[in-house]
């Protein structure tokens, strides 16, 4: 309940900061009926709406930077901003439990996981000129077209619809918990099975290259060496370890099926698995 109170105070402070009297009249009128369009106007923003708009602009801006920046690590960091902005939007919509879940899972683990992924794939630090593929203009066209279509449809459909944010929080932990464990308990349990499956899947995928060393030793060795040579030709800056050092490390790893080779510092498998577990 303290969380709900905090959210309420945040909302109220935002409202008072924006300009009190107009907002109050608006919210009281909205309380009578949600479909009475004449009681509301497009140019009658409440404080919550203004805050929502500003945070939304920040979120959208961060998202756009995320998909356009040429620095890959920065993209992950801007993603943090966007996801955090969304968490604030959830708070403004009085869905506070989801907001915290958003912060915990997305900002806390998903982005970290993405950063791990970037590093494990030796993503270049700094500006990389080829971050965007040649498909950019087609992508831009499709994105703008779909944005126009969606915005048009959404605005056309809901231009006379208001959300009443007064009263009890719609997404407090209590409400959400009740709904989840009364009405949605079976899907919730099913979800846990799905997570387990994803866990197992991630492990299997990560260990696949070493799972059958005896039969596939020569082809996998060949493919690894081919990958090495292709990567060397890619002129990756190779910041911490040169490719020539890891290649002899991997070759015996593929030849001997002994489990003791895992501690040789293979880049992908052994270190990725605990991360998956932590993420889930």
């Amino acid at each position: 309940m303290s969380l709900t109170a905090a959210a309420a105070t945040v909302a109220h402070t935002a409202t008072t900061a924006a300009g009190a009297t107009v907002a109050h009249t608006a919210t009281t009128a909205a309380g009578a009926t949600t479909t009475a369009a004449d009681a509301h106007g497009f140019l009658s923003p409440t404080g919550v709406e203004i805050a929502f708009l500003l945070v939304g602009l920040v979120t959208l801006g961060a998202a756009i930077v995320t998909v356009t920046t040429r620095q890959l690590v920065h993209a992950a960091l801007w993603l943090v901003v966007a996801l955090g902005g969304l968490a604030v939007e959830y708070l403004l919509l009085t869905a506070e439990f989801i907001a915290w879940v958003q912060v915990l899972i997305y900002v806390g683990s998903v982005v970290v996981l993405l950063l791990f992924g970037l590093m494990l794939t030796r993503a270049p630090i700094g500006r990389s000129p080829d971050a965007d593929s040649g498909n950019r203009w087609a992508a831009l066209t499709v994105a703008i077209a779909s944005a126009a279509a969606l915005v048009w449809v959404v605005v056309d459909a809901f231009r006379t619809t208001w959300i009443d944010l007064d009263g009890a929080a719609a997404g407090s932990t209590e409400v959400t918990g009740k709904a989840l464990f009364q009405n949605w308990v079976l899907p919730f349990e099913a979800l846990s099975v799905l997570l387990l499956a994803a866990l197992v899947g991630a492990i299997v995928l990560s260990r696949k290259a070493k799972a059958t060393p005896a039969t596939a030793s020569t082809p996998s060795g060949l493919s690894v060496s081919a990958a090495r040579s292709a990567k060397a030709a890619n002129t990756t800056p190779a910041n911490e370890t040169p490719a020539t050092e890891t290649a002899p490390n991997e070759m015996p790893a593929t030849e001997t099926p002994d489990s003791g080779t895992a501690d040789n510092g293979t880049p992908a498998g052994a270190t990725a698995d605990p991360d998956k577990g932590g993420a889930l």
Binding site: S133, N135, A138, A139, T141, V142, S146, A149, V153
Partner: protein, 663 residues
Amino acid sequence: MTTTTLAVLVPLLPFLGAAAGLLLGRTAPGFVRPLAVLPTLAAFVLAVLVALRQGGGRSIDAATELTPTGSVPIELALHIDGFAALVAVLVGLVATCVQIYSTGYLRDDARYPSYAALVSLFTSAMLLVVYSGDLMVLLVGWEIMGICSYFLVGHYWETPEARAASIKAFLVTKLGDVPFLIGIFALAVDAGSFRITTVLGAVASGGLDHPTLIALLLLAGVAGKSAQFPLHTWLPDAMAGPTPVSALIHAATMVAAGVYFIARLLPVFAASSAALLVMAVMAAVTMLGSGLAALAQDDIKRVLAYSTIGQLGYMTGALAVGDRGAAVFHLLSHGAFKALLFLAAGVIIHAAGTNSLAATSRMKGLRDRVPDAYWTMTVALLALAAIPPFSGFFTKEAVLGAAEHVATGHAEGIPGAAGWIVLVTGLLTALLTGAYAMRLWLLAFHGRGAEAPDHGKQPLAMNAVLWLLAVPSLAFGLATGALSDWFDGRDLTPTLTTSVLGTGLALVGGLVTYGAWKHTTALAARVPMGAVAAHPEGDAAQVEAEALASHAPAYGDVAAAPDPADPGRLLLGPLHRHAAVGFHLDAVYTTLFVRPVQAGASLVRFLDREVVDTYVHGAGAVPRLLGAAVRRAQTGNVQTYVSALLAGTVVLAVAAVLVATGA
């Protein structure tokens, strides 16, 4: 055995021999020669038996219906009268001689089995034509002969001349055979039957509706088969075949089939005086033109080929004046002596290693090398020139007598003009015949210059046959009195006027040629010429093939040679140039038929290549272009795919929204 059975066996035996020869030719080479000679010999003996039993009396008729056709029935019918019996004997005799001769002539030839089988098949077909009493069955034999002729003329298919000649022979005879087929159908429709006896009965009762049309259509086929003007041009070129083939097909039998056919159906032709006039003019042009052309040829066999055309012209002339007895009489004697001439010419070509008269006229002592050929050929040439008492005299005088009989108005229903035309041109041709016979004899055997090469003695099979054939050439005339019973009973003995005129003109022709030869032969030493075969030790067929192939390169033409010592050149004067190439008839054909056909073919080729193929290629190119475009879309880049997918989704969604909102 009944006469009918014997008669059926006559064509059947060579056919079985041909089939067995074709089947066993590779597996059992030892049987090939007996299989070639024995059935033909047996057919000859049986034909003689049939002729003796028939005896010139009533014709033998037998028929069995082959299959119900629904309209005009087709029957396996025999119709053996005196003509058929005697012509069958001639065919059997010549075919037997040729088969025996071929065993020596094509001694080492790798393709002898198929050659012998084809000759047997040919003999069978000719005998079928002779004995058949049904026009459709006759036509079957007629066409089998055509295809056998095609194969046999092209026996030396390694040489381009032989290939061209075989195709030409086939196409030109087919040019006549198509109207011939239509004519047979028209005749059968008018008469209501394919049976010859029924047809003749219908003609006698005036049942033919279109006699002139039918006669002219049939005449086209006859002109093609019997090498009459204007369809004769294939015969000189057909000399590119082996000499025995020339003797059998292109002298004695196949070319006689046309004449024999008219003789069988003479009432049909006689029903139309226009057809008789056309025949007379055709015969006249053929006789004169071939006589002149024969005087200008350099190839021995081409001289004989033009001579054959001329003698066939005599027969056609006899038929044009309505006397089939004289025609078939001349056919018989001509078949014998012309076969002899060809076979002897084969011996000469083998011995001299060349077929060029210009070359043999520069060889001394060739007659001593081939005495048999020399004497028999002399006999045959005398018969050809119609010098009494050789066989040709009696038969040719029968023709001239018949023409005179008509010209003086003693025959009813036959235009007198036809008689005059045949008589006058026949006498002129007698002069020309004497001239070219003398020229051939002088140039072939009385050459002066280097000694003739010695290629050893000819095989016995070849020489013996020559003497065998010399007998009828010499003595066939004695049968004149006995044979009149066989030929409609007309008297065939020569009349005084035509005998004196014809023999005198022939003698004049021979003497003038002799004088000219005396005058020109001195030039021969000054202009050395000649080319002989590269492998004189080979068998005769190989020598002949090489001689044929080398004639055009050595003398500039397959027919003529630029020989100033040729008496024919002196006699013909400015005409020689045209006569040597057959009076440019080939050029006319080239202009009239070959070029238009080739132009049409190139037009069709153009249409096919440029127009039809354009559509075909377009039909292929459009899908290929589409495929290339679609393939270009398959970049493997997932983002491209998803872009296209989402773009399509957006378009669909917008469209759905627009439709849903009624916009």
